[in-house]
């Protein structure tokens, strides 16, 4: 080999050594593949995220109509809240970490309930089991079962993501239809008619006011949308925006407000010491929500090691921590807001 060729070889190798860490790419790749796959898991996660954010955000916006309380000082550091969507058992159907930055930007990170984690004091288990185990134990001992479950879940989530959770708020999924009814309907704008027998949605193009079952069907539809999950996530954002602006409009109607407040009080459970009003000054009624799911590996069948048989989703703890840290990081104050439904707020 000539000296020139040796130098070229060294130079090309040095260039190749600049390559990014393949583990980071692996995590990104798995997340993106997961997002593209039409999984029921993600459907539930995204829907619950919307439900939980609406449920928590609505009282905050609603309360803006009343004179600010003395305690309503925007926390300068933002807040990290664990949002839990519960089924009727109750078990966590979806687990979402929401970060409200000091300037009001909201990022949500969904964690599949079947994520295989190292449960503090228990060992390997499903993330959702953290709630279920503590719920059962406290219930047997005559203590507040939900509170024990939510606190155990918050510890498991912090353990997995490395993110400190300040507060928790839980909502039953079935409350979602009720909530949209209490709001008097949520307006969305459709660019084309939405018809899908699978989700039960049947709406004309243009502006639609969604209530109850229609709202759920609209949020559930994935089939027939050009980009599937991605389009649906845009719909969720449009719906969330509609719900928040509706809540802001209701501020002048005490009767309607009372109805919303009653539904919220009945359906949203928070940690006892927390007054959600403290972040009211931060939230922007029409602010977009930036959502993501933690990077998960393909599901694995288990039936031993003390785990209940069935599917679990293994994760790389390093990848999850890195992803959580970066996704939930507060954006720079002058960074542009995340993309939303479009200038007219209409969706496909």
């Amino acid at each position: 080999m000539t000296d020139q060729e040796a130098l070229i070889r060294e130079a090309v190798t040095a260039e190749a050594d600049e390559a990014v860490d393949h583990r980071a790419v692996l995590a990104a790749l798995r997340t993106r593949r997961a997002r593209r796959r039409p999984l029921a898991l993600l459907a539930v996660g995204a829907l619950t995220a919307v439900a939980a954010v609406v449920a928590v955000a609505v009282p905050l916006v609603v309360d803006r109509g009343s004179p600010p309380a003395a305690t309503e000082v925007p926390p300068p550091t933002g807040r990290t809240v664990l949002l839990v969507g519960l089924d009727d058992v109750p078990r966590p159907d979806a687990v979402v970490v929401a970060r409200i930055s000091p300037d009001g930007a909201v990022s949500t990170l969904s964690l599949p309930r079947d994520t295989l984690v190292d449960l503090p004091d228990v060992g390997p288990g499903r993330l959702g089991d953290a709630y279920a185990r503590a719920y059962q134990a406290a219930g047997t001992a005559g203590q507040d079962a939900h509170l024990a479950g939510a606190e155990a879940l918050a510890r498991a989530v912090s353990h997995l993501t490395g993110v400190r959770v300040d507060h928790h708020a839980a909502v039953r999924m079935s409350a979602f239809a009720e909530l949209s009814d209490a709001l008097g309907g949520v307006e969305v704008c459709l660019r084309a008619p939405a018809v899908d027998p699978a989700s039960g949605v049947d709406l004309p193009a243009g502006r639609n006011t969604l209530r109850g079952a229609d709202a759920l069907a609209f949020l559930r539809q994935r089939r027939g949308l050009p980009k599937g999950d991605v389009d649906r996530a845009v719909r969720h954002q449009a719906f969330l925006t509609g719900a928040l602006s509706r809540a802001a409009e209701l501020a002048a109607d005490p009767a309607a407000l009372a109805g919303v407040a009653a539904v919220v009080r009945r359906t949203v459970l928070t940690d006892p010491g927390w007054d959600p009003m403290e972040v009211a000054g931060l939230l922007r009624p029409a602010g977009a929500v930036r959502g993501a799911v933690i990077p998960v590996l393909d599901p694995t069948e288990v039936g031993q090691d003390g785990l209940d048989p069935g599917l679990v989703r293994p994760v790389s703890p390093e990848a999850v921590r890195a992803f959580a840290t970066s996704h939930l990081a507060d954006p720079a104050p002058d960074s542009p807001p995340p993309p939303t439904a479009g200038p007219d707020n209409c969706v496909g």
């Binding site: 070229i8 130079a11 260039e15």
Partner: protein, 167 residues
């Protein structure tokens, strides 16, 4: 099938990223290209995975993405690189000088036309034969030899040439 693709990614990702980085001289562009290619490959893995050498096919996908990439990087300062390399004089055993020489060569390689650069990376980084390079670039072996010899000519620094001519 899913397992097979995952194994492929685990085995090949690092190597693919390095190859793409050497090819693009831009680690972020390399990451974008490799990610996009692997996502596309995963959707057609039933066909690609059944091939004799899936990694060669995926490498070809990466190479094609790079070759057809529209937005060109800003041209590097070729005259500076030539001059820097020429000023260093004959090859020396001094590690610092050798290091500078290597970096100047890197900058020079970054200025090569894309197909020439691809041929150089395949030959000197991947140690591919002319036939293999021809398969990846989708051209004849004769064309590969022509790319390589042109690239080598462009990378050769005439150390007797006064540097002011190059400046």
């Amino acid at each position: 099938m899913r397992d097979d693709f995952d194994r492929f990614v685990t085995d090949r990702l690092d190597r693919l990223l390095r190859y793409a980085t050497a090819l693009t001289c831009d680690k972020h562009l390399a990451q974008d290209i490799v990610q996009e290619v692997l996502l596309r490959a995963s959707r057609r893995w039933d066909r690609i995975g059944a091939m004799d050498a899936p990694h060669l096919y995926v490498k070809r996908m990466v190479t094609n993405d790079y070759l057809s990439w529209r937005r060109r990087r800003a041209a590097k300062e070729v005259s500076t690189s030539h001059a820097a390399l020429a000023e260093l004089g004959p090859t020396t055993a001094d590690p610092a000088v050798r290091h500078a020489e290597r970096d100047a060569m890197r900058a020079l390689i970054a200025t090569l036309p894309r197909k020439q650069r691809a041929a150089i990376v395949l030959r000197y980084y991947e140690d591919s034969t002319d036939a293999e390079i021809a398969a990846v670039l989708g051209c004849t072996e004769g064309t590969v030899r022509s790319h390589v010899s042109r690239a080598l000519r462009a990378l050769r620094v005439n150390r007797t040439t006064p540097t002011e001519v190059l400046r």
